[in-house]
Structures are given as C-alpha cells and as structure tokens.
Subunit: 334 residues, 2 copies
C-alpha cells in the first residue's frame, strides 16, 4: 500500500529516520544505560524495536503502559516512573507477567504499593522540577520505611524536566550536573544499584553525573520542540493530511487539534507556514512558488510527540512512500 491510499489524518513513522534515531541513541547509551520511556510513543511495536537494539529495561508513566508492556513480552524490567495510589491498578501491575518497580515519593504512595503486593521500588527524588519527588534529605528515611515494609529499594530516580530546554549545551550540562548532585546526595542515603534520570534533551549530559540509566523517549520520533535543540536525532513522525479546501492565500488540511498535541504550540507543515489549527483543520500558507490543490497530501510535524501519539489508534511505518506495517498505539489511556 502507498501512503496516498491511507485515510487521513494518518500518523506516519519514517522507518529509516526511526532506525537511525535508535542506532544513534544505542551507540551513545547502549543496553541498560538507556531505559527507554514508553510514554513518548505508547506503542509496543516501537518498544520491541528498542528492545531488539539492546534496551530491555523500560520506563512507563501509567499502569496501563506497564501492564501492556508485560503482556507484550517486554516485561523484563519495567519502571513506573510515576506515583499512584490506585489500588486496582497497583494490583494489576503486581499481578502482571513481568518485573515491576514503582517510584514512590511519600508514605502514602509507598503504603499503596506495599498493600497491592508490589515488591520493588525506586525512591523518586525532587531534583528541582516542581512536580513529584521527595526532598533529597528525606529520601533515605523513605527508603528505610520501604525496606521495613519488605520492599526491595533498587535506588533512586529524579527527573530534571525543567532543564530539558536550557539553551546552550554547556549551560545545560552545568545545570544538569548541579541538579544531579541532589540526586546523588539522596542516593548516598538510599543505596541500591540504580541512579535513573534524564530525558531526550539531556541524554548526552550524564556521562559524569553518576546517573547510570537515562529515561529518554522522544528521541525515537522527535518533534519540533526537541528538534530546535540541535540534537543528533531526526524527525521520524509525521501526521499525513489531505488538503480539503484552498483559499485565496491559504489552504486547509484535515489535521487538527484532535490529531495533534498542542501544549507546545502549533505544528509545522512541510513546505508551508501554519496560520492556526482548529478541531479538524490546520490552516497554512504555502512557501513561495509552491501551490497545493484539493486532494494533495501534506506532512504535518507535531510540536509535542507524546500527547500526539496518544490521539491515534495506530501508526503507519513507511519508507519512500510505501506502507511497511501498521503499528497499533496500544498503550493509550491509564
């Protein structure tokens, strides 16, 4: 099948760019040095490709992702890098065919995990992003509590999400190192083998921070937001649209708010300039010298890949316009 035959909007993955992104990352962070974050794609087919290139430990953001990864045979070492007190979902993770470790950052989240029968945790440490994570000087105490409740404490994690987009590689590196000193201080009190942190924007800044696994996910598909950082990854995900209307100075394609994560702003249109999006439309003008007609196809690049993936039922793996495979986005929802 050719991409011209796909109904639109259609989520496309460029097979060659995707393969190169995976190869680039696994060269930099081989094996367990990378714990790929599945929240960025929510797709067990993509996770299987990451496993095939050597990464068999994974990071998840929701219980649904954990359970789905285990069901797909990718459950060697799954980390829920997020907190939950949902007893039903915690029990489902405890019962699944895989090795599940959960992050905890409070007595409440620890108690919920213990009560559900989970047996391994990381202490989630706040390293500067005002979100989850226990204060570094309280991490050791929480680890002691966890061990007293029968938990294996595998180490620490801390997400420096506030530093992903710091401009300038050197400035970013310095701020990441300072942030990770908080994580190492906590690790000294907590113990365990794992010091987990990072993301696509800081994947290459952890060689000397003491972090021994990086939780990057967006690198596999990229988006315009991370694309602005000059990272060695290529845009591999596109939303294919069809031009449905052509105005005097603009055109309209069928890729709108329900097909695109919009928190990072408007998407880009290849060969055009985006005016605005509405529920089912992107309005754009063409580059000088280019015109489009009703029925033409356009490639739209999302500004934020993670929520974009969650809006689609499946991705189409493509090469040179040919459809190679259909990959269900099978880890959606919670």
């Amino acid at each position: 099948m050719h991409i011209e035959d796909l109904p639109t909007p259609a989520l496309l993955i460029d097979a060659d760019a995707f393969d190169r992104n995976l190869a680039t990352m696994s060269a930099a962070l081989p094996g367990t040095r990378l714990r790929p974050h599945v929240k960025a794609h929510k797709c067990t087919s993509i996770a299987a490709a990451q496993a095939a290139i050597g990464h068999r430990t994974f990071t998840c953001a929701t219980p649904r992702e954990v359970v789905g990864m285990a069901a797909a045979g990718l459950g060697d070492d799954l980390l829920l890098a997020n907190e939950t007190v949902d007893a039903t979902r915690l029990a489902a993770m405890a019962a699944c065919e895989g090795n599940v470790t959960v992050a905890v950052d409070s007595e409440a989240t620890l108690s919920a995990a213990v009560a559900a029968g989970l047996r391994a945790c990381l202490i989630d440490v706040n390293v500067g992003l005002p979100r989850c994570g226990v204060a570094p000087d309280r991490a050791g105490h929480l680890a002691d509590l966890a061990r007293a409740r029968g938990m294996t404490v595998r180490g620490v994690m801390g997400y420096e999400g506030h530093l992903m987009m710091v401009p300038g590689h050197a400035d970013r590196a310095a701020q990441v190192a300072a942030s990770m000193s908080l994580l190492l201080r906590a690790h000294a009190d907590v113990g365990g083998d794992i010091v987990s942190a990072g993301g696509t924007g800081t994947f290459d800044l952890h060689e000397h921070t003491g972090v021994n696994e990086v939780q990057a996910g967006s690198y596999a598909l990229l988006d315009t937001h991370y694309g602005s950082l000059g990272l060695p990854f290529e845009q591999a995900a596109f939303i294919l649209g069809t031009v449905i209307s052509v105005g005097p100075e603009w055109a309209v394609a069928d890729v709108g708010l329900k097909a695109l994560g919009m928190d990072h702003g408007n998407p880009s249109v290849v060969g055009g300039s985006v005016w605005f999006c509405s529920d089912e439309h992107v309005v754009f003008s063409c580059e000088t010298g280019r015109t489009v007609a009703v029925g033409d196809r356009v490639h739209v690049i999302p500004a934020h890949i993670d929520p974009t993936m969650a809006m689609h039922e499946a991705a189409w793996l493509v090469r040179a316009g040919e459809v190679l495979d259909r990959w269900p986005i099978d880890l959606r929802l919670w």
Copy 2:
C-alpha cells in the same frame, strides 16, 4: 457507585448542569433552530439527550461522527459541516441509515460527493474566517454545478468562527451581522431552505441575521474559554483527578496533557491555581487556607472541551457525587 471509586483521570458530566444547559439552549433556540454540533462531545448519549429535548438535526465534523450518529438512530438529518474528498468515507456516509447532507466549497469536493452517491449538499461559504468555504460571489455558480450533477442543494452554511470570542455583546453582534450579510448574499444566489451558521459564542446573535439554524455544540458542557464570555451556560464537564504528590508549595494530580485539550492553554483546578501540565500531571497550588493530601480528589476544568472529549473513552454522568451512568465517547477518530 460514588465518584471516589472511579479510576482517574475520569471525565465527569454534572447531570444537573448539563440538563440546565440543554434547557437554556432549547428555550432560546427550540427544535431545528439549533443544529447541535456533535464535534463538541463526540458522544451519542449526549446527542440523544439533545434529541430528547427537541433537536433532531445535527452537525458533524467528521464522517465517523455522521456514520456513528446514524447507527445510533440519530440520523434524521445529519450535516457534515466540513469538506472531504475521501471516497471510502463519503461512500460510508452515502450508505448509512440516515439522511446525510454534506458541505461543499469547491468543484473537487462536490465531485467527490457526487461520485460517492451522496445526494444533498449545502454550499459552504467563507464569511471571514480564513478556513473552508467558497467566496460568497462564487457560491451561486457552485450551487448550479451541484444541481446540474443531480444534487439537492439545501442552502448555505458559513461559520463565523473568528467572531466567537469578540469581547462585548454589542460589538460581537455587529460583527456577526456584517459577516452574515456575506452569507445572505450567497444564499440569494444559491437558494434552498437552510441558512446555517453560528456557534456557542454567537448563539444569541442570530435572531435578525437571516440565519435559521445555529451550529452550537460547546454550550452543553462548556469550558473555561467559553466560560469567560458570560454566556448563560454552566460548566458541566470536569476531569476528576487524584493527588499523587504534595510538594512544599504545590501539589500534583494525575490529569495531564493526554487528558486535556491544551490549545487554549492550561486548564483550571477548582480550589487551586495551575502552574503547568505535563504528560500525566497537573501541578497546582491550593487557594489560601486550603491543603490537599495524597489520595484527595480534585476537579479540573478543561480550557477547550472539544479536543478534551476526544481523549477519553467514556464520560461518567454524576449527580451529588453519585455516578448515574457511563456514556461512551463513541464518535472519536475520523
């Protein structure tokens, strides 16, 4: 079941507020004066409630919405107020158990509809929003072409989406009247019974514009964006979240970018102030004097209801904390 027993994030509909919104709208625009837009909710249960209060003509934005509405027995008079050249989806609409009218704004969209076996159209007229719609002075020509191809031309539509948020009722009314003069000029050339336009932001401005049906949808559930206009509708949709972490000056609930349409900006948290959202989190501070603990529930109000609905599998109809029903969001995708 009580809402405390729902897994989160959970999309809630306040049954009383919803009923009042429907009653307020049907008093203002009874029967076919309103053609409710199902893109705002994508839910046949909500559409059935709109039908029960007297509105049995509906507006849709996607073929999937048209086909799903017909399958649910709500196909008396369905308008696809959008353009498509997808032959398969056009054929599915032509084959469905309902009366389907499609908008056309070009020879290409007209030809595709005719080829698929559709037999009724509206001429979609550009009334100032740079999106779909034929230029007003070309509408009569397109109607002539449609009739020559065997189509019944039922009239015109034009969406004044650029005017929904004009501040001040009088200014909004004046600009809507000017915009609708373009639609009436087109209608004089096109003929047919229908002059369709409008939305929630302009629902009460069409008494003297010549428009005889209004395509409002968001009024049923509302959002913070339309809520800022002082319309006589109440917030009826909420995303229920669970607090999963509490920081020194903030708290974190499990309602993030994958549960919220973000194109209109951050959501609101009842009793709090939102700092930012990430994939699975909303970070907020509490109002003075209020505190939250891990496990507490919070109500999040989306900034834009339409894409928010498309992210959830189902809505829970609630009254005074009790769950009355589960309504599948069954018209998602395209």
